[in-house]
Amino acid sequence: VMIREIATGKWIAVSVEPVEAEDVRNLGTGWEFDWLTEIGRAEVFKLIDPAAPKAIYGLIALARRQDHVEVTLLESSPENVGADKRFERIPGCLLSYAVRLSLSLQFEGCLALESKTDLIDHYENKYGFSRLGHSSRMLLMPGAAARLLAEYEKRVVHG
């Protein structure tokens, strides 16, 4: 998967890996969520640049359910949120990994998450999630999951 440096347009190949205890202990300040607590409830994965693996660009927490994978938390690193963020595509790359885990568990890519109200449209339009009724629950079904993978795992040949 690849993220893009906004200022330069440069693409960076990154990888998603399970966090180590040391990662969670040394996260630093500015993160919105309590990842130390979350890791007791769900598997946590980090987005890193293999060339500089100490820097964590984003985290995602995934819980295996009966027929889908649930995204319980997802957050870009503090320096990658807001108008001055350095990289884009971090959330999509993390969601792409969640789809892969879902596929490997024979869930056909199905994901679920609880969305903040003002992000529902974004999950639908950008990532292909469908809203469950009028709830805050968003589901990603197999066709949309494959398209999300295609978008975030395609190889960039220029830029």
């Binding site: 890996e17 180590e20 205890a21 969520f33 892969r100 490997s104 494959a146």
Partner: protein, 101 residues
């Protein structure tokens, strides 16, 4: 917050939203009904074609054994809770899942 939907300028995050008590059962119900729809098989076929175009192995979908991820998670928790006896060993590093290009 910027709410443009055609770029990554929206700061996506997941968390802080309490699920309905029946969220899990409703999700399973939705998925079961969805899979019974006539168009579902065609959707699956389209998805498989997309995955094949990406070069993703249909058996593993590019992931190593998902079980090893669970084992890693349990060792990580043991480490964080002070049970050093269950720290991941160096050999385990080769088993870790990676999704990279």
């Amino acid at each position: 917050m910027d709410k443009r939907t055609d770029s990554d300028e929206v700061d996506i995050l997941v968390g802080g939203v309490e699920a309905e008590p029946d969220a899990l059962s409703e999700t399973s119900r939705f998925i079961a009904i969805y899979k019974q729809q006539p168009a579902y098989q065609a959707e699956l076929e389209e998805a498989k074609k997309i995955l094949a175009d990406l070069g993703i192995d249909p058996h593993t979908y590019g992931m190593p054994n998902a079980k090893s991820l669970l084992d890693h998670w349990h060792r990580c928790i043991a480490d964080l809770t002070g049970n050093g006896a269950q720290r991941p060993d160096a050999g385990h590093a080769n088993e870790k899942a990676r999704s990279s290009e």
